[in-house]
Symmetry: C2
């Protein structure tokens, strides 16, 4: 008597003749399809299928749904909270080959792309049109993955995040149905907002295969100011005033004293080791000139102790290089250590209470935790440098992260501004959402009754 075939084997046997060498079960390929950027341990899938079209995605999902085999969508693999891990095994659906820019409508400032397009690639393609796609997160990421995790970046204070910039989607549902949500119109009141249901669902409700995105015009002029303050409260107050004045703010980034010390140690610089803001204005030359004057006065009134205004594009780039060196500088504090990046987001006025509160907690531990943030949105990261082999440090890092989330929630904030939940933050969802988490579970059961889509992410059923 023969054993009945495992569901996975049945699915792979059916896929093999269709996908040929685009179906792989080799250890090396499987190991590449895990969350390599995450602080969480990797968890490889049983197999990897490289798809090239929406129809192929539908074919794989239909089969996996019929046999209860987990499917984990995979783009560039750069998500932070283990979203692309496969803790329940199954198939990693590699979408990186779906990398065509399908259309650019310069007049309407929108474009439609396949999910595997890397955002830097899109911006290279767009350059000649004078347009760009303004979500500029640090990672090498696909636009599909960015939508799935509701990503944002340093210019979100001006342009919004993926939440605001995705106009429409093509999504394959777990049962293989293909739906088109939203469209190219700038607004619509026609029925349920399915687009936003899939943006941020981290692949647990279906697979995003195409996206229609809003674009923006490349601003004529920019101006960058870097300034330091005696304390976080003063820096935050300057940000609040700048936001209320409606200045043409493009980026507002904050580093704390620990972060600035790390930057000095790493780069051999002698910058003030105090809370520091980088503020970029963008718009027409006349507006930028005018607002730069207002901004300088305003940060001075807020008690800026040091101020450097970039005189030209080169000088501005140099100031931003300092900001962008933060992550490397942090990691260099403990070579070989990746660090857990926290990601809370609170109302901007609550930033001082949140940062001061957590700084006290950090001081009571042995952990170094430089802070860098998209402070115009109230979102900041602390890189908690700990050795995962050391149980004491691991406990301390987890303690800080958990205290920080508790504090952010008590201040009206969220556990995650832009990294998403994945495996790393699902323990906090009940505290953050209460009864609303039950509704999320209801929706998941409704759309994915066999629980094949990225199972175990965001919440357990």
């Amino acid at each position: 008597m023969t054993q009945p075939a495992r569901p996975l084997d049945t699915v792979l046997s059916a896929l093999a003749p269709v996908f040929g060498d685009r179906l792989s079960t080799t250890q090396a390929v499987r190991d590449q399809h895990t969350a390599l950027e995450s602080w969480l341990p990797p968890d490889a899938p049983d197999a990897v299928v490289m798809v090239r079209s929406t129809e192929e995605v539908a074919e794989v999902l239909k089969l996996c749904n019929a046999h209860g085999v987990p499917v984990v969508p995979f783009g560039a693999g750069s998500s932070m909270e283990g979203q692309v891990n496969a803790p329940q095994g199954g198939i990693s659906l590699d979408l990186s080959g779906m990398d065509k820019v399908l259309s650019v409508n310069a007049e309407d400032m929108d474009c439609t792309v396949q999910c595997g397009v890397i955002r830097q690639r899109l911006n290279e393609d767009l350059r000649a049109s004078g347009l760009f796609f303004p979500v500029d997160l640090g990672a090498h990421a696909t636009l599909g993955g960015m939508a799935a995790t509701r990503a944002s970046g340093t210019t979100t204070v001006r342009y919004g995040s993926m939440r605001e910039l995705v106009l429409g989607l093509t999504v394959v549902l777990p049962d293989g149905r293909i739906v088109r949500t939203g469209g190219r119109a700038r607004k619509s009141a026609a029925g349920y907002d399915l687009t936003h249901l899939f943006v941020g669902a981290e692949g647990t409700l279906g697979v995003i295969t195409e996206l229609t995105l809003r674009l923006a015009g490349i601003p004529e002029a920019t101006s960058t100011l870097m300034c330091s303050f005696d304390n976080i409260g003063a820096a935050t107050a300057a940000v609040v005033t700048a936001l209320q004045f409606g200045l043409c703010l493009n980026r507002i980034e904050l580093a704390d004293a620990v972060q600035m010390a790390a930057i000095n140690a790493h780069g051999g610089s002698t910058l003030p080791e105090a809370p520091t803001l980088w503020i970029e204005l963008a718009g027409s030359a006349a507006t930028v000139d005018h607002d730069a004057d207002v901004l300088r006065d305003l940060v001075q009134d807020a008690g800026a102790t040091g101020m450097e205004q970039a005189k030209n594009a080169e000088a501005a780039a140099a100031l931003w290089r300092i900001r962008h060196s933060a992550l490397y500088a942090s990691r260099a504090l403990r070579p070989g250590i990746k660090g857990l990046s926290t990601d809370v987001c609170v109302p901007v006025s609550a930033l001082p209470a949140c940062i001061e509160g957590i700084t006290e907690v950090v001081r009571s531990t042995s952990i170094q935790a430089p802070l860098i943030g998209h402070v115009g949105d109230g979102n900041f990261h602390m890189v908690l440098l700990f050795d995962p082999e050391d149980p004491n440090e691991t406990a301390e890092a987890r303690h800080i992260n958990s205290k920080l989330i508790e504090l952010a929630l008590s201040l009206g904030g969220t556990s995650t501004g832009e990294h998403g939940v994945g495996l790393g933050k699902k323990g906090y969802m009940a505290a953050e959402h209460g009864t609303a988490l039950d509704l999320m579970r209801d929706l998941k059961r409704c759309i994915d009754p066999a629980n094949i889509m990225n199972p175990g992410k965001i919440f357990d059923l």
Copy 2:
């Protein structure tokens, strides 16, 4: 043997001792709780319950859910497509008494209000703070109703619609569970976007009882330009260029020649009877001055045949009074006739094709149809003036509306930019959404299995 009580009677008997004279079944009160602003015939509920708190809403819903009695949420009753009608009878849930502004956070530029707050009231309350809520639709409307229908207005081109400006909600689900969605953080990547599921659901998934809203700073300066063009294509081309230039645009409104003739006839003016734009800039005085110069050059290059620049606030108000007289001027073409307001929204570049296409259809009928639009968003309204007692005119008006929607969908647009679906547009949802409509139905069945929430709106099950 006694007859079993009707479900409605059972519910009313249970509610009577709790609500006293806030429960009414008198004809006069019931007749006030229908869609009086709509082109559709009214349909009164069996009873009206005036609620004062989220908990009371939960109590009513729990009871109605247990007995399968329809519930129709009611705010100011100003929706356009019959959203507050009760074609299946049941209870009209009057939320107008929930009219408290619960908190204003000036530093974070947000506020939390009960659903029954009228938007004009909120702006009066906010005036001293230097802030305002920027969705300025024409109707007398509650913020809860505006969220439920995903409303927008003339400044949506700058600030976005209810979709972009609602940060969080308190919602009562059909089974009486109270959920809080979103929050005060500017962004979050924590789980499914439940806020956007309820914004635009027209009360078919639950009752919105509280809203957290983004506010904006009142701009320092504004500048208004009114200009006319030989044809719609030239006017639209000017709009496209202005949008691409990233000017500080606050409002961009368009009227067609028919509308301008109606305005002249109504107001005794001698304005050019040609496609006309009203463009308002807003920002700092320096920015507005600079951008006004650019704008003037740009509309001239686009072929503007007439141009009037407001020299001061009074002159600007006079130009905007012309714009705001459009609806009255249209209705004055046929006194006593309400008219059906179309509401398609297309990519801005598709406006000339859409408007020219439908103008030909209108010319083949006996219907007058002045056009006014939020052209920066690609959204425009034609008021189809027809006598509902005349079967021929009714058929012509419905033919125009249906041709217009067909045309808009073929151009990548939507059947409704801001009025919603209600009863009036549900026949077009299959053409607009395809398979996605099935997913909407799945969600409805999941959240409201007894189909008590505003049944028969948006789609039939």
